[in-house]
Symmetry: C2
Subunit: 330 residues, 2 copies
């Protein structure tokens, strides 16, 4: 029921995903009468079922209020299914704060993890770079940044099949005033860790640096960086459109350049990067962008599937126990 | 002497600027024998002079060391000229931390200003958006953010000729976990101020929001945002080059689309945005990107000229005295 479009996007995305994927079963959670009209002939195809939930969490609703007051919201019921083992993962385009609060309350965090984090991948010259935290934690201590690094590294290892992903710590590049205390302390922790830590990275490295897999930062900075990327890419698309529509000659050149423009668009298509994972919980929860369309939401489902297949929650649990115990006893 | 290229870029930029501008006189500060080879026939044209300085501040040198140990560095001598009234402004492509520390030590901050800040403009759909702080202040209290807003607003008013520039406070968009304490407090201060404050803005608003003139944030976030922008733009340029060079057809389409690609490039050309101003000092100091080429460095000189013409240091002094006195007595 979440996101800007609700079942109008989620149901077609589920149908599309099931067509591509032969192994999964999907449960649509929400008001049945709102879901039904988006099904072909109102019928449920194989491997798709509906779990009724009478309430919805508003996109601007306070997480605490959603958590206390909406025990039969689609979001809550979906996460309950994960808790009960009736679902392996939950995918939602709903209110991020409420999703995180509910997931944390119902599923609980992993041992040794103080705070869950949100991670997603962004386009980069050499593939993708994964960035966390994206907004779950506004003020972070060094220890939290370290925990994010351990979780992010393990996720990327599992999902991308990279043996020891490289981890960078986001900082600014000026000497002496370099970084704040938390970042400096996190740098010390990471330098002593077993992670494949490559040191400080800067804002442009996310997109340009070779062999950079995971970038760690606090949720405020990560969220601004994520929104920035969206903003710059949209601005450039806007300018391209304006320039190609300028006159008859530029319009013709747009036709000629169309295959290239399409290829370019595909490379930085935000829909291909849709799906941010909540890490550090006893269960898999993936957050889709609220404005996601069918293709984008399908991608978020595909990420959840990947994490289930990789048994990511268990892998992270094992990793944090090992890494964070080592660091605690060091 | 500063930047990646030293006099090889700075001298031609100075010559280029003097050709375009008929009113200015420029003083090249640095080792005379390093400057001389870049002058036409080794001669100084009219309105250009050289002030010898025997030392240089390294790009990675600690600001405190540069400040204590290099009293005859090109950077120090240039700022001394401003202090002595022999120059109206200083432009440098050197070490940012050292430039800020030296400027602060020699010129002193304005009354009521606790910390100077760095501001620059970034491309936006509707023109330009000015962002500060860009890295001078890593940890900021609410009161500092408020001071940045007052200074940024006045600068943009003077340089862009906008009567009451709109000011936004950079934040992340999630309810309840929205912002940290400093940002919330700064929001209160700004809401009660005389500034044309429009509330919280997000990372993408810098590029996309209409009628947003000034964005205020701390130096860590601002620096990451600035680097991000550079990174995303470079990545997109890289992908465009790759796609247009793919085969003979795409290469031909690049030829056809060339006028559009050039126009697009011009719009987001980072050289057109080169030149970040140090605000809150008793004097005008402009920092050029270290990697600036001739055109970019010329642009930084042009910004300094604009600020001199607008009498920006005095305007800001008047404004901060008025605004910050009001807020102190409120």
């Amino acid at each position: 029921m979440g996101g800007d479009h609700g079942p109008r996007v989620v149901v077609p995305a589920a149908l599309g995903f099931l067509k591509r994927d032969q192994g999964c079963r999907l449960i649509l959670v929400g008001r049945e009468e709102a879901i039904r009209p988006h099904l072909p002939n109102g019928e449920l195809p194989g491997r798709l079922s509906v779990q009724n939930a009478t309430q919805e969490v508003g996109m601007d609703e306070l997480p605490s209020r959603a958590l206390r007051g909406k025990k039969d919201s689609s979001m809550r019921v979906a996460i309950d299914l994960v808790k009960q083992g009736k679902a392996d993962a939950c995918v939602s385009a709903g209110n991020t704060g409420a999703l995180m609060a509910t997931a944390r309350f119902v599923l609980k965090t992993l041992p040794h993890v103080d705070r869950p984090a949100i991670i997603t991948s962004l386009p980069a010259i050499n593939g993708r770079t994964w960035v966390l935290d994206l907004g779950a934690n506004v003020d972070c201590e060094a220890e939290h940044l370290y925990q994010f690094a351990v979780m992010g590294s393990e996720l990327v290892s599992a999902v991308e099949g990279i043996d020891r992903p490289t981890v960078g710590l986001l900082n600014i590049g000026q000497e002496e005033i370099k970084g704040n205390e938390q970042v400096k302390e996190a740098h010390e922790l990471l330098s002593r860790s077993d992670l494949n830590y490559i040191g400080y990275v800067e804002g442009d490295d996310i997109y340009l640096r070779e062999n950079l897999d995971v970038v760690v930062t606090d949720g405020f900075v990560g969220n601004v960086a994520l929104k920035n990327t969206e903003g710059v890419a949209k601005m450039i698309r806007h300018f391209m459109a304006v320039e190609f529509k300028r006159n008859i000659f530029t319009k013709l050149s747009a036709l000629v350049a169309m295959p290239v423009l399409k290829a370019l668009r595909r490379r930085i298509d935000p829909r291909r990067y849709n799906g941010a994972s909540l890490l550090g919980l006893r269960g898999i929860v993936v957050k889709s962008h609220g404005g996601a369309d069918k293709l984008a939401f399908e991608n978020a489902i595909a990420i959840a599937k990947k994490e289930v297949t990789a048994d990511i929650a268990e892998r992270i649990e094992k990793q944090v126990t090992q890494q964070l115990n080592v660091s605690a006893s060091a």
